[in-house]
Symmetry: C2
């Protein structure tokens, strides 16, 4: 299908076209890449209108259950949420489709919702770039809320934070000095923190955890527009606190919008993304030079051992034999 | 002076040679770069033996005063500390030499100490790379402790954390929910936190701040080797707590060493550094293409406005006209 035709169908809200479009932007085949570029440019005017919300948290915090219930609530309020998963450590392939849809069973059954499973991992500079473009495609397809879920392995949290407007962190209830599973770095990125499982036996622990987290956050400087991350308690099981959670997301977006920080954040994200893509491409071109993969591995080995300085290794990577990096139009 | 001769003098502990060597690695002149590469390779066997300690904290936390007193203590114990400053936001030029030496007046007067002022800013990918190499040169010159100080603007804290063994964060005393100036991200990077000014009127506030920070850190997962950042109180004025602070640095290094995490951390740092240098060089080569600076600025403008997708912009940056990036040996 031509890029223009695919763009038209995506914008008409055809689910199959949206899924296909995301597959296209995920592809690294040269002809697919060209079509993907055309597709993205064609849908560009229809993008940017959704609220983009990142959600992370440790395994077992109840991300899927929360997103399932939150998504159902949002549909009840007339929204059309899309859910994208980012999991760079994932080795799942085809099976993940079923996996993600099972994890969010009620949302998956809703015609207004779109759930995109984790893309396969391990490609160069890939996961974040593809997820950013998947967000745009979801917006073009009329989804007014895009939720990007990440398991928080490695750099993925920072990458997701850099593609959303509001980043929500889930914490588990844990009494006293027990671990709540908050990774170092979580407090840095979070715009909102929600302690999950505020129900039944764990309700009290959730309240105590929220109080402790609130105290901890008081020690940090506020973020952009003077925003201080609120700490809420939620129960996906009983649906308690989820309306308040969404209200906090809206409050955050409004605060950013008033301060002009919202548009600026998105513009900065796009520019960083462009530079990231240029870097990825340059590295790809470098690696395409004959024998370069092996040479880099050898140099890396010497640098790791300490027998070669990183500077000389970098020089040799690029210059031991004249390297020609040419990229035609 | 030839690189070999300069290397010999650096290793002989000649201060002037060390200062000159650092100036050489800071230079971006092509012939200087080649000599710097030779110099670094020549001193490589004499590097790696120092404790590398990063120190950051908000303006006013008393970084200089603390480093001054700590340095004097270390010299008293037979050490030869070097202090490097990283300040990417600095626009100071020659004046910084006096500035840094005035800030640490007692240490500057010690023959066993070496203080290197902030390098001038604004060069491509420069500050971190140069500081990493300055650390190596200080080690080759026999400094067994290298302190890297940063003001914590932008990315500099993360960069400094990636070039040291132990990262120390200073916080100011502040009662209750007052701000202690801790930036978001500080808790992520810190191996040790010290609340300063634990003397006179602010002694009580320092204790309370330390207790609050301790509670906050309990909520986070421990770092490598199960290390939990301790929170100490110090007074540079009365020298109280500085021995305990250094003991914590040694404890951290020992814990990392026992877990094998110390050597691994340095090896990973070197490899990341090599890749960073390759990226910097590729970007430099790209920018050296005729008209590329202007073209990138135009594309960035369009991406910022939202009229061009980042993917197409990246493609055009590299491919609108055939771009040839050639780097001879």
């Amino acid at each position: 299908m031509k890029a223009e035709e695919l763009a038209r169908r995506v914008r008409a809200g055809e689910r199959v076209a949206l899924a296909r479009a995301i597959t296209l932007v995920e592809s690294r085949r040269a002809d697919h890449e060209r079509r993907a570029g055309e597709l993205l440019q064609a849908v560009l005017p229809a993008t940017g209108s959704a609220m983009r919300v990142g959600i992370s948290g440790p395994p077992g915090a109840g991300k899927s259950t929360l997103i399932d219930q939150l998504g159902v609530n949002l549909i009840g309020a007339g929204h059309r949420p899309a859910v994208l998963a980012v999991d760079p450590s994932s080795t799942r392939s085809g099976g993940s489709i079923l996996g993600d849809k099972t994890r969010m069973a009620r949302l998956a059954a809703e015609p207004a919702a779109f759930i995109r499973p984790t893309p396969s991992a391990g490609r160069l500079g890939g996961v974040a770039a593809r997820s950013r473009e998947a967000i745009l495609l979801c917006e073009a397809a009329g989804h007014d809320i895009v939720i990007v879920e990440t398991v928080g392995a490695g750099q993925s949290e920072a990458e997701v934070a850099d593609m959303v407007d509001t980043f929500l962190f889930l914490a588990q209830p844990g009494a006293g000095d027990e671990l709540q599973g908050l990774k170092r770095g979580a407090l840095e990125l979070a715009d909102i923190i929600a302690v999950t499982k505020a129900d039944g036996d764990t309700a009290g622990a959730a309240d105590r955890s929220a109080a402790e987290l609130t105290a901890a956050l008081q020690l940090l400087q506020p973020g952009a527009a003077g925003w201080r991350p609120p700490v809420l308690t939620v129960s996906a099981l009983t649906n308690r606190g989820l309306d308040a959670l969404w209200a906090a997301v809206l409050r955050h977006a409004a605060a950013m919008g008033e301060a002009g920080a919202f548009a600026e954040r998105r513009a900065e994200q796009r520019v960083r993304w462009m530079h990231q893509l240029i870097e990825d491409k340059l590295r790809e071109l470098l690696l395409a030079a004959p024998g370069m993969g092996r040479r880099l591995a050898e140099l890396e080995g010497e640098v790791r051992k300490g027998s070669l300085s990183p500077r000389l290794a970098a020089d040799r990577a690029l210059a031991r034999e004249p390297v020609e990096i040419t990229h035609g139009a």
